[in-house]
Amino acid sequence: MKVLVPVKRVVDYNVKIRVKSDKTGVDLANVKMSMNPFDEISVEEAVRLKEAGVATEVIAVSVGPQQAQETIRTALAMGADRGILVKTDAEVEPLGVAKILKELVGAESPDLVIAGKQAIDDDSNQTGQMLAALLGWSQATFASELEIADGKAKVTREIDGGLQTIEVSMPAVVTADLRLNEPRYASLPNIMKAKKKPIDEKTVEELGVDIAPRLTVLEVTEPAAREAGVKVETVAELVDKLKNEAGVIG
């Protein structure tokens, strides 16, 4: 069974991002970039499937600039077998990425795509779902457990207020939630070995995909600064404020 894992290059989760002064987006100059943390979880799951003898090959795919190759290398160091970079300097929206992935799925014929549930830069949470729709495949989103048996995937999903376990037929798209696993750190020998693993480069034009943006970003702003708290003298005053100012109790 082949597993395809899309990995996105995003601003490192430790970086305190700053909005550009013209409010058109986030300042990416000299900012540390890393693999989207949910994609790390996807790679880990795919590698575990391979180690368990369920998967035979894990392919890491990224859509982005040349530097996205580093993100693929990280996936290769974690245990993926090979990579595919679809090179583009354009901003690609989730629909565009889903279309590109659809083409790659057509070429590679994987049985399973494990994607992160969302990327931490745009928080779209759309690519996996769109890909499943475009392919006409089953989808199981927000996975916190994944079991493959008899051509079916049993997935425990994190939903509001609890867990839902579903079974989907394969091929399928699964999107990984935070608790699916704890990604490993790549060992130094594996970082070295990853350099020798192949990364195939393609362009959006070669795949014949229209990635023209459908959305227009009007404005990006920082979250409102948190206001300083107040000290209350009595419990009665606290209850009064919770009731009348915060409106959190009736």
Binding site: A77, Y185, A186, S187, L188, P189, I191, M192, K195
Partner: protein, 339 residues
Amino acid sequence: MDFRFSQDALDLADGARSFLDGANPPERLRSEDGRDSLWPQLAALGLLGVLAPESAGGLGLHDDSFVLIAEAAGRVCLPEPLVALAAISVPAVLATYPDEVGGLVRGDHVSPPVHPLAPYVHDADKADAFIIAGPDALYGVPSSKARLTPVKSIDPNRNLFRVEADLTDDLKVGGAGLCAVMAVRGATYTAAQLLGLTDAMIQMATDYAKEREQFGQPIGGFQAIKHHLASAQVKLEFARPVVYRAAASLDVDSIARQQVHAAHAKIAANEAARFASEVAIQVHGAMGYTFEVDLHYFMKRAWALETIWGDTAHHSMIINQAVIDGGLDIGPGTTFDAA
């Protein structure tokens, strides 16, 4: 001459940094009694074998790869003696009993170095054996033949012991030359860890200066604070290439030249760390003295490392002897001589 680090070295350091940052956050430094050792993970990730040959399960790389990892270990104030084992013990065992290196690389055996310049050994009670530099030879001493006396360190994350043994001929494993190599490696890699600690202290002070407000603005907005931090950063940037050069010259240059490079590195790193710790504590104001702030762990580690493998006075004497008494050529024309 290409002064850049190889992409391999940078990638490995990145990998190590990402592990160390995640596995040893400052909170871990606060739990010195009940924490699990990272030793199995350090071994599994291959960090113990960077300098060991591939036949022994290592990566077979040179010191210019490990120096960045040592710096990363310093930056997180790693309690485990990774650097001493991987950068001092592994090469010493490789030079004497190469068949035994595999055990060190896998983390099965722990044989820390003991030298008159670093007589107290961290976690000596967990060691199987010691590599002891005697007055005229190198000795391999099993832990059963060593006498350990606990010594209290200023650094709460260093569990020190004085290690003594009867250095008899049957324990001899190498000559005095290996003791000199051990001292050079000790000084160079302690300097590398000091770079990391200096970096961390400047970062902490800078973060605090951006957050702490006084007179209606963050204190980092005041020139007096900015200048202090900038001066500390300059000291660090000036020390870095000196330490990197010392690492690059290990096992490549003559031992005399390695000694001078290591001495220069240790002096520069000592100075940068001392200055950064003073600045960091000033910037933190009274908070810097409290246990609530992480700074003191890094500062105490820096103070501890400043004195081991030769303090500034010791290394100044080495340079004095080499330049004044030994007639070592100095100046731009000889900077890159590999004599």
